[in-house]
């Protein structure tokens, strides 16, 4: 497996674990109250720190184990995979914003709206990384 592919796997697993914990541990029973907005803020801090720490440690570990590949610049194939990934991820992002705008008129609560946006961002990033990994695996 190439160094870049390993980094993508680390990102994918880290995001699934961090945001999986976030959405499972979120206090949904108070989602309609103003306190839920601050609960979101409070929970996003450890999630962000966990992602940064996990990515830094994993990248450093993989870089030490794959010294030969660390300085290799992104080639045409990597760039093509990247563009495929972002192309597919763009659409969930657009749909997520539209849904959110409609839900604002529907009277959705602030915390629910915030969580919907976070979920959209996470889905878009998972689509982007997932597409890239799929293409690396397929050897396209």
């Amino acid at each position: 497996m190439a160094f870049r592919e390993k980094i993508h796997w680390v990102t994918l697993v880290t995001m699934i674990l961090a945001f999986g914990w976030y959405f499972l541990a979120y206090p949904w029973q108070i989602a309609d109250s103003p306190a839920a907005v601050w609960a979101t803020a409070g929970m996003l801090v450890p999630v962000t720190i966990a992602i940064i720490v996990a990515m830094t440690v994993a990248t450093a570990f993989l870089a030490i184990r794959n010294r030969g590949e660390v300085d290799v610049k992104e080639d045409e194939r990597d760039r093509s995979f990247h563009m495929h990934g972002t192309h597919y991820a763009y659409y969930p992002l657009v749909v997520g914003i539209w849904v959110n705008i409609f839900l604002i008129f529907w009277g959705i609560g602030q915390a629910q709206q915030l969580n919907l946006m976070i979920a959209t961002l996470v889905v878009a990033e998972l689509v982007r990384i997932g597409t890239q990994l799929f293409l690396y695996r397929r050897g396209y």
């Binding site: 803020a41 563009m83 992002l93 914003i97 539209w98 604002i104 915390a111 709206q113 961002l121």
Partner: protein, 162 residues
């Protein structure tokens, strides 16, 4: 160099202006950019000048709906006209280069929208809400789509081939 050679070189240089004629897809990219800039400059310009669409739901829906429909109608009619004028070979299915250019545009737009979404969706709910938030969301989408169209346009103009 003899004057006759210089003169013939000048004529040849004059004949080749370096201009490339636009193909059908590039023309539609221009159409998208111009229609989008015109429509949403009007919309956001009205909001900035104090139109009630910046504060209330129904004026917003009415104004945005009218402008979005006008924009869509312009693009549809323009595309039909351009399509009728274009030779059949240019109207063929998008080739590999067209698809690569489309992906390039979407890649640039993705990052614009990602940043817009973080501001509108993750920061702004703490300090704002309602119609203002919806308008900021619309602005993020319009900005991203504009970047998408401009990147597509520049790629065609510069002869980018993936």
């Amino acid at each position: 160099m003899s004057p006759a050679t210089l003169e013939s070189a000048r004529q040849l240089a004059g004949a080749d202006t370096g201009d490339l004629s636009m193909n059908f897809r590039e023309k539609t990219a221009w159409l998208n950019v111009i229609a989008m800039v015109a429509a949403y400059t009007l919309y956001f310009g009205l909001l900035l000048s104090g139109h009630p669409a910046g504060r209330e739901i129904f004026p917003m829906l009415w104004l945005f709906g009218s402008i979005a429909i006008a924009h869509a109608a312009t693009v549809i009619v323009g595309t039909i006209i351009l399509s009728a004028q274009a030779p059949k070979s240019e109207r063929a299915r998008a080739d590999e280069r067209d698809r690569a250019i489309r992906r390039r545009g979407a890649t640039a737009a993705y990052y614009v929208l990602l940043v817009g979404m973080m501001v509108v969706g993750v920061y702004m709910p703490f300090v704002d809400g309602g119609v203002r938030l919806a308008n900021c969301g619309l602005f993020a989408i319009v900005a991203a789509e504009l970047v998408n169209s401009v990147v597509v346009l520049i790629s065609y103009r510069r002869g980018w081939h993936g």
